[in-house]
Symmetry: C2
Subunit: 534 residues, 2 copies
């Protein structure tokens, strides 16, 4: 189903494109610095209020809509996204400078995500229906009939990422997992790619129409500063926040949400340095292969992945020296990349300069800057003793660079990685001659600090499936008990409700005696698809 | 297994009873005002540090302990609690003035809870093992082997309630659900019943010894002010907080936890007014029975339950007048109760006086105060119009009182209950002549605001089972997506971890190919207890 949407630069409020009086600077091409039309409006208090109220009203309307219709919606969004065809990819290329193949792949992944959440929505498994039968004759007190399901929590504010305009954007995992359970979404557009966000929002609007669902279920407000986002989070109708972006941005929203008269949860995925631990035999046995693979993981997509490995721990010695040389050689071969925006480019430059000039840090590859936003890859090295005492060296550096941390021996390696903050991922590379005990020791230290533990593999590339965790202890996220990717992500936006002594007619269908939805339910402790008798 | 513990007034730190230099006032009998020996020490920074570090060290030691051993621990705690016999009940009576039958019942419930969490721990169901097989030949990228389970999060700070010294105390649901998944606990004793808390802590210490588990898995620090609790929550080792108590207390801990350099989740259950909606036919048809049942629910245990119905909504008219009269009559018959402490008694008095003197509030039963902490029941009434505009009348009043809110008609009733804050429970009473549409309308409004929706029943009495939810939107709790009672409570203290391409030997047993623990696992989307092949 091919269709088009002419960009308006407006906000999507209750199914209407509403222009606001105040504009913000037109997006610029990171490649050329030239403006990319149209200009986009900056949402004010009135737009935020209108979108939030529309979401709240839609939530009331939508509470009894059968769960499979949210599956229909997500599938329709996937169809509408694909229906935009080249227009969507072209716009994303213009706004982000990401290359076509990468964006085509990301769009496919986004569609996969939408369909995964559609399957979850259709299965009703997220409802987790539990029935505990009454025991009217129990002493000293009768036991009531108690039934429980999970229910949607209400309007969710979604802040997409700059680096994944589709998969973590307006139609990304946060929106899909919120809609899957019947929660309205108020998305805040990313100032780096407002046009992509408008196209994605238009796709959701079309899909709401295709499936006959309330238009207020999805809104988009655009804005370049922090005011719009703060207003969305502080609106009384907002019940939860999904965010992907920087530590500073995520923490600021978390603080605002926690300080509300009625605090709400913030599921912020704020990136990570994704430590790689190279055990000695791995370096010795597979030096070139690891250098090649690691270089790709560090520089792919301009090093602008939240799972980019930013710290590599290894033990000093001739093998480490040869590895550093090989990695430097690989990184020199990588063509310079245009980063996502002037602001990202400037931040990368400052961060790289700070790294290079930090006491005790050696620059192995200095990189260069062949264009306004273009950068080649950089490689740094530091001793474990210096790294441990300089907290600046622990933080994420977004862009094509990584830092080798050279440890004295395996004991020092273990002690050093024990200083790591919370991470999305951590990887151990082990060779045939590394002992099981050493592998186990390093894996155990990382496991305590990460959401995903990897052996002999690179962290970039996040599989969309049931077993994946894209999360981790703070500062990787603000909610270590959750994931923003995979089936478990829907749990962020639901809450359990218990029903005591309700007759069948008043119960949600998922809990009615006859099991009209055919769900697997836990009845008196046993899983069953059968009906229950009173 | 009968055993005794002579109270020390000290803190339990890493298996030792450690006295601190500074004491706090001896607990007083609420009945007589006389001190109940011994004096208890006030924990300082050193004690909090020592207990927190011990918990952290124990967590590292305990991470690979098989999950069934936590079941053994909880069962041993139950045995040790029961083994204290009358000493425990006597101490609780002396410290709280709760009556023997109530405390015997609460202890039985506490043992039931411990055994429920023991069953959950033994089943391993909380691990939620998921395996997604590798697809090495997938294009464009191979799919890795990904496996996921939930893991304990680490040391949990537990703040027990004053009104349930056993079931929500040091050995209560928060501690049991934390220990069930292998999390160490640092409990803060309640200043109202430090002796009960020490006895319960002694029971856990004995149980740790009985089962050969690290003594640092459980610590107790005592204190009368907010300093000790704040220090526990702000300690870097603390990973989560379980709290049962007042809104002010819970919010203060929530704010501290959110303001930490590394924020941690707070699961605070802060009480509720538990609205009761009486539809006209219910009042007409079952006036006396409802008045009798409601009176019991309001005054039982001195009205000191977090599920006490504190607001009763009904429609004006002769039936409402007769109901108010009948309820007043019932409440007059209730013998005065000694409240938990002088402080609770003083708060109740102030709150009752404020209610009685609020503009537009009529006192139907003024109650009396026949002893230092003794109070008879009080009944107030107010119009819906006044209630809606006075937020003070929306808040919990802890103790034997309730407030009737008289609405103009059913439309006004619906509009009025839509102004309610988040609640643990909400109940609708419907008669044969009330229409389905009216019942449905009121139930839908309440459902949006509560953790447990009840038809024709009273909220007091929280069943310990799978389908129960003891939680709800703020201000009932700080985490609407959780419950502090029932099987789901364990989810508060775990986080998901994903393992990518790990060989069998490095995987937790729950995820190993052969399924050595015999768990039900989700393998490539299907539930199975079978082994997996690579």
């Amino acid at each position: 189903m091919t269709w088009t949407h002419a960009l308006t630069g407006a906000h999507l409020i209750n199914g209407e494109w509403v222009a606001s009086g105040v504009g913000f600077a037109q997006p610029c091409s990171p490649e050329t610095g030239e403006p990319v039309p149209p200009a986009f409006g900056e949402a004010g208090a009135a737009e935020v209020e209108a979108a939030s109220v529309a979401a709240s009203v839609a939530f009331e309307e939508a509470r009894d809509i059968p769960h499979h219709r949210w599956a229909d919606l997500l599938e329709a969004v996937a169809v509408r996204l694909l229906g935009l065809g080249d227009a969507l990819i072209d716009r994303a290329m213009a706004e982000t400078a990401l290359i076509e193949a990468r964006l085509v792949g990301e769009l496919a992944r986004t569609v996969t995500q939408l369909r995964l959440y559609a399957r979850i929505a259709r299965s009703g498994a997220w409802l987790e229906a539990v029935i505990d039968s009454a025991e009217p004759d129990r002493r000293p007190t009768p036991r009531p009939d108690l039934r429980r399901i999970f229910r949607p929590i209400g309007p969710v504010a979604v802040f997409g990422a700059g680096n994944f305009p589709f998969a973590y954007g307006v139609c990304g995992g946060d929106t899909a997992s919120a809609l899957a359970c019947g929660n309205p979404v108020v998305a805040k557009g990313h100032p780096g790619h407002p046009g992509v966000d408008e196209l994605c929002a238009a796709a959701v609007l079309q899909a709401l129409g295709d499936t006959g669902l309330p238009a207020g279920m999805f809104g988009l407000v655009q804005g370049s500063g922090t005011t719009v986002g703060a207003a969305v989070v502080e609106h009384p109708a907002c019940e939860a926040v999904g965010f992907t972006g920087s530590l500073a941005g995520g923490r600021a929203l978390f603080d605002r949400a926690a300080a509300r008269p009625r605090p709400i949860p913030v599921f912020a995925e704020m990136g990570s340095v994704n430590p790689i631990v190279l055990l000695p035999a791995a370096v010795r046995e597979r030096l070139d292969a690891i250098a090649e693979g690691l270089c790709l993981s560090v520089t792919n997509g301009g090093g602008q992945f939240c799972t980019k490995p930013g710290l590599v721990f290894l033990v000093t010695g001739p093998d480490a020296d040869r590895f550093a040389e090989a990695l430097g050689r690989e990184m020199r071969r990588v063509a310079p990349t245009t980063l996502l925006s002037r602001s990202i480019s400037g931040n990368f430059l400052r961060r790289a300069e700070a790294l290079g000039s930090a006491v005790g840090v050696e620059t192995l590859e200095a990189g260069c800057r062949p264009g306004p936003c273009r950068h080649s890859a950089r490689l740094f090295a530091v001793s474990s003793a210096v790294w441990r005492t300089n907290a600046d060296l622990h933080a994420e550096a977004f862009g094509p660079c990584t830092l080798l941390v050279i440890c004295e021996d395996l004991g020092d390696l273990a002690a050093t990685i024990a200083c790591l903050d919370g991470q999305l991922t951590g990887a151990v590379f082990a060779g045939a001659a590394d002992t099981d005990a050493d592998v186990r020791r390093m894996a155990a230290i990382l496991e305590r600090r990460v959401g995903r533990l990897i052996l002999n593999g690179y962290p970039t590339g996040v599989e969309v499936c049931g077993a994946v965790v894209h999360g981790g202890p703070y500062p990787a996220t603000t909610a270590a008990n959750s994931t923003s990717v995979g089936t478990l992500a829907v749990r962020r936006f639901v809450r359990p409700v218990s029903y005591q002594n309700l007759p069948d007619a008043l119960l949600p269908p998922a809990l009615q005696d006859a099991n009209p939805l055919g769900l697997e339910r836990t009845v008196d402790g046993e899983a069953t698809r059968g009906a229950v008798a009173r």
